[in-house]
Subunit: 465 residues, 2 copies
């Protein structure tokens, strides 16, 4: 890994200019200003508009050159033909970074490519580093920065998940759906055409960013495959790197070619290569979110033995199937442990309930969670991770706090799955923010466990190698 | 397939007795009465309780023998030791069917097995047919019958989906999560210990039930494998049969053994066998629901060619990958078709948007859906099914009706996926009830298509063989 590019003032700017700011919040240039105000950005905000003197209560300037102080970050939301001139101005002004939302550049053919060259040349002349163009922006909640307009309902509280998305749709989808599942972000970048700053630049920065504990990326083409894999190997030794790579099929590659002008490589090769370097591949958005939730848990399983504790026999069977399908072990509990569980559960559950693993509580009515907690504690001695399926309402902060405490006492990862996988997304988020692996279904929780087991092996191999 | 057992008066009873009825709606015997009242059951309802004279406004009777008319269906919710006597009474009364919710019978060991034998003997003596015991009940919304208490928010409107669940949890999960996805049910049976009526009996009945268009089952053990497969083959020629079989792993089999006393068979053999007879295997609940939603579409794809229409390039790539992974084809559109699309989209979408398939609308603002509809119509000529990813709000009845009309005009199945897979479950249900294949994510829609393609082949092979 080379030295990470200095992107601090991209994510923590003291001053931001919005080039193409508008009074109309429904227009991108208005949406940016509104979102930055809503996110309580603490630096100075300068709307740039050739005719307006004031936008949303802020003094507006005709050009970035008229701003009375240094500008760390320019957000560019103007038609493509005007972008080169705007970047010229940024270069002259000494702007540090420009996030170019404008579309119609390198992705549209010769004319656009020509514009893009001019932008890049202007940027280089003045040392302006470029995010995009044809991107959806960046988000750093901790700094009050969010230019990904459609994700305005993302939590403004900072977190430890970083994401780089080549597709704006993928980026928005992760922000919106991930936020609902309880993910909280350190930095998010919609990287667009990557004419200057590239996926590798962002990854290097995030690898050394203390606020970031797990990194995910959506990518289509990978221009320098070998370099990327070396980087992925180096990152994976420090923190988990999850890659959602698309454009692998023939038609997918065609779709990619028309919208980002990059070429998707042979797919199977990538899967093998990712595995070799310890990076984790997510096949789709749901998996990506499940994995990120899983890495939000402060514990890694030290082995592949899973204990399953349910309040329904069918759920136990389904969970056990899902675990074994993925190479996880669901060991029968020792006779002595089973006896201990039977004693604990005497008179609480029917005598026919299974206590061998899966342990089937059938139904428990103790609202203090006391029985479930004691069962989990007894089981936890024999396994590396616990999967609990429960009828308890998930959105309850106090139950989530109890479960968090349980996980801390056990010191092993605990996944929580609602008995009924419905209307529970908000509830799942509450649990995930308490560090629990909250997944909508049993099979998805098992898959998340298997990824944690794999990553633990990656770290161990590295230590032993 | 033998002659189907006559279960009409189980699902469409004129009179129902609730044995163990309670004034307390939180107790099972009270919940049943309340749910039947809420479902607007049109027959006569007789609460049976040894001491109460009136329950929820209905006259109560001390025994089923005191009911002044014939009883078609008895719902039994009393402690296990009292069940044999209750079934004795039912036999004497000439009750047609008894749904035994009580637990603690065959699943609990020798004592329970003994009780179960007595129940069965009493039932046989009087010709009473038994559902359960250790079951969650039955549901036939069209008849106002629902004894699956925790699923009280299931639509009381009838539908065409039938389900038989050996696990109460699986049955409730499908009812609750499936209802949210827009499924509407013809008949649902939680089959429990199956001491009399068995999975095969229910399936035979449902195969010849005109209200049922698709049948699904959750099963753990399959006692007479060969017979089951013959039945599955016969059913699959008439209507789709989807099987969610659990208990396939070692630990899963252990869980099954302790809660239903049946043994799960070798798993891989089942997968192959299901395929050979044309039955469809769902690996988990989400798949089961997706497949049932898919079969709610009035069209089957005649081949495996999928057209992908998105409002985001990244989504197109992801969808194409998912389709090709499953053996579906995403054919490039002919030059002429592409030209036609370009002409239509001139000035509406940027010139760089892909029109080769996937077709990328980037964003469209026409609220009438006119452009999307015309694109879809042009594309549909070249493919067997259309997958549309859209930013349109899913919960909108009028847009759903427009999409339904589009599907009818095309005469080919249309899947709809929200651009952001979140907060949309209710919206998905609206689309599904309009006959569209509404799925939360692109990969799940692709999987649903692949199942329809397979089933179409099953039907064709049968016609040609």
């Amino acid at each position: 890994m080379g030295s990470a590019p200095m992107l601090d003032s991209l994510f923590y700017p003291s001053s931001v200019a919005v080039i193409g700011a508008s009074r109309d919040a429904r227009k991108p240039g208005g949406g940016f200003v509104r979102t930055l105000l809503r996110f309580d950005f603490q630096g100075r905000l300068y709307p740039i508009n050739p005719t307006a003197s004031e936008i949303m209560g802020l003094k507006a300037y005709p050009s970035v050159l008229d701003v009375p102080e240094r500008v760390d970050l320019a957000i560019v939301a103007i038609p493509a033909p005007s972008v080169p001139k705007a970047i010229d101005d940024c270069a002259e002004k000494g702007v540090g970074f420009a996030v170019i939302h404008s579309v119609g550049l390198g992705e549209v053919g010769l004319e656009g490519k020509d514009l893009e060259s001019k932008v890049l040349q202007a940027a280089k002349t003045g040392g302006v580093r470029i995010v995009g163009p044809n991107c959806m922006g960046i988000c750093c909640p901790e700094a009050g920065i969010n230019t990904i307009v459609s994700s305005a309902d993302v939590s403004s509280e900072g977190g430890s998940v970083a994401f780089v998305g080549q597709s704006g749709w993928a980026t928005e989808s992760l922000l919106i759906a991930g936020s609902e599942r309880g993910l909280q972000f350190s930095k998010v970048i919609s990287s667009g055409n990557q004419i200057d700053l590239s996926l590798s630049d962002y990854l290097e920065y995030l690898a050394s960013d203390a606020k970031t504990k797990v990194i995910a990326a959506y990518t289509e083409g990978l221009r320098d495959g070998g370099d990327f894999l070396e980087l992925a190997r180096a990152i994976s030794k420090k923190k988990p790197l999850i890659v959602w790579k698309a454009g692998k099929s023939q038609a997918g590659a065609r779709a990619v070619a028309s919208h980002t002008a990059s070429l998707a490589g042979r797919d199977a090769i990538w899967s093998t290569a990712f595995k070799q370097v310890g990076a984790i591949r997510a096949q789709h958005l749901d998996e990506l979110i499940d994995f990120l939730v899983a890495f939000g848990c402060p514990y890694l399983p030290k082995g592949n033995r899973v204990g399953i504790l349910t309040e329904a026999g069918g759920g136990g069977a389904v969970a056990a199937d899902a675990c074994e399908d993925l190479g996880l072990e669901v060991p029968a509990l020792a006779e002595e442990t089973q006896r201990e569980l039977r004693e604990l559960l005497q008179g609480i559950i029917p005598p026919f309930a299974g206590v061998s693993n899966p342990v089937d509580l059938v139904w428990i009515t103790d609202p203090s969670l006391h029985v479930l907690e004691r069962c989990a504690t007894i089981m936890s001695r024999a396994v590396d991770a616990l999967l609990i399926m429960t009828y308890y309402p998930l959105a309850d902060e106090s139950i989530a706090a109890d479960m968090e405490k349980l996980q801390r006492n056990i010191g092993k990862p605990v996944a929580i799955v609602p008995a009924y996988p419905t209307k529970q997304y908000r509830g799942l988020g509450v649990y995930a923010r308490h560090g629990l692996i909250a997944c909508p279904t049993l099979d998805r929780a098992a898959r998340a466990f298997s990824i944690l087991v794999d990553y633990n092996k990656t770290l161990q191999n590295d230590l032993s190698g």
